[in-house]
Symmetry: C2
Subunit: 190 residues, 2 copies
């Protein structure tokens, strides 16, 4: 990574930390400068407007939760079906719960979308692209589940993540067991 790109990523990481710790209202260029221990004005040089900063956050979240290609290859080597789909979803949830700060920042961005039309536009673009990529992935991997089912999994896994990142109504059941139960009920037969 070029030096500029490294610094840009480090500033976006600091913005993610501010979002997770202080919420969307705490996210200012100055707060990111302070958290990154950079001179005042640094973040403004890399991300001119608040919209640029939020777009930088969303792009960086995508990088930080990107799947490991070796893990994806392993998942794709199993015969496509219920068990394989459950393994895919367990891997998604595990990545998000392991990146607690990233996942909390993501929820903050979701809520900020309810307040600001420009954030709603950014998040709509990102969420719809992710959703379409999931639908295309299932089709290319021969996995069961079309758009309708994939939307149901989106809802259920978002709620599960929120439960596991904050306060759980059912902490005795493992996250993997919840994912398996959702796949059992919501995935059609191949």
């Amino acid at each position: 990574m070029a030096r500029n790109e490294e610094r840009r990523a480090r500033l976006a990481d600091a913005a993610i930390g501010v979002l997770a710790d202080e919420g969307a209202r705490g996210l200012t260029h100055r707060a990111v400068d302070r958290r990154a221990e950079e001179p005042a004005g640094t973040t403004s040089n890399y991300f001119r407007s608040r919209g640029d900063l939020l777009a930088g956050v969303v792009a960086r979240i995508g990088e930080r939760i990107a799947p490991d290609p070796a893990a994806v290859a392993r998942l794709r080597s199993a015969p496509p079906g219920r068990a394989s789909y459950a393994a895919h979803l367990r891997y998604v949830v595990a990545r998000m719960t392991a990146s607690r700060e990233v996942a909390l920042a993501w929820f903050e961005m979701r809520l900020e979308a309810a307040r600001r039309p420009e954030v709603a536009a950014l998040m709509r673009e990102t969420l719809v692209a992710g959703f379409e990529a999931d639908v295309a992935y299932n089709a290319s991997a021969g996995l069961p589940g079309g758009p309708a089912e994939i939307a149901l999994f989106h809802y259920a896994l978002d709620g599960l993540l929120l439960d596991r990142l904050t306060v759980s109504v059912d902490p005795a059941t493992s996250t993997d067991a919840v994912v398996d139960a959702l796949v059992e009920g919501l995935l059609p037969d191949a």
Copy 2:
């Protein structure tokens, strides 16, 4: 309602508005005074600490999304089963999406629980009591679904609400149709 109770409820409503519009970090006693157009110090008289204010918010949210007893009686008059359970859940989701401000404040409280142990304790108590009441309701109404299934519905409906309150991945499918599909997949036979 006694005059003091009315004012307390009005202040809690103002706090809900602040949470929805500005997030948890914006919630101060002064911000609530301003939103309620009360003299500085009023909110502090009714809710001494920030913990008292948050507990007041949670209690008021419970009042504002409480079901209409006549609607519950109608729901309970149908034979218990898949269709009746779906009608119950559609009513839950409709109440929350209709009270957009309340629902957004609720999500803010969920995220604040990830940051502050005292908020986590308050939300744990509230969420677990709600969950146990749901389990007891199903049993007393003869509805299918025990704790494991009710937890799955909690996750899925939380994620669905977040989707519908913010930016949706599948706006073409009605919220009621999503609830019906979840019940179809996740509810065991009676």
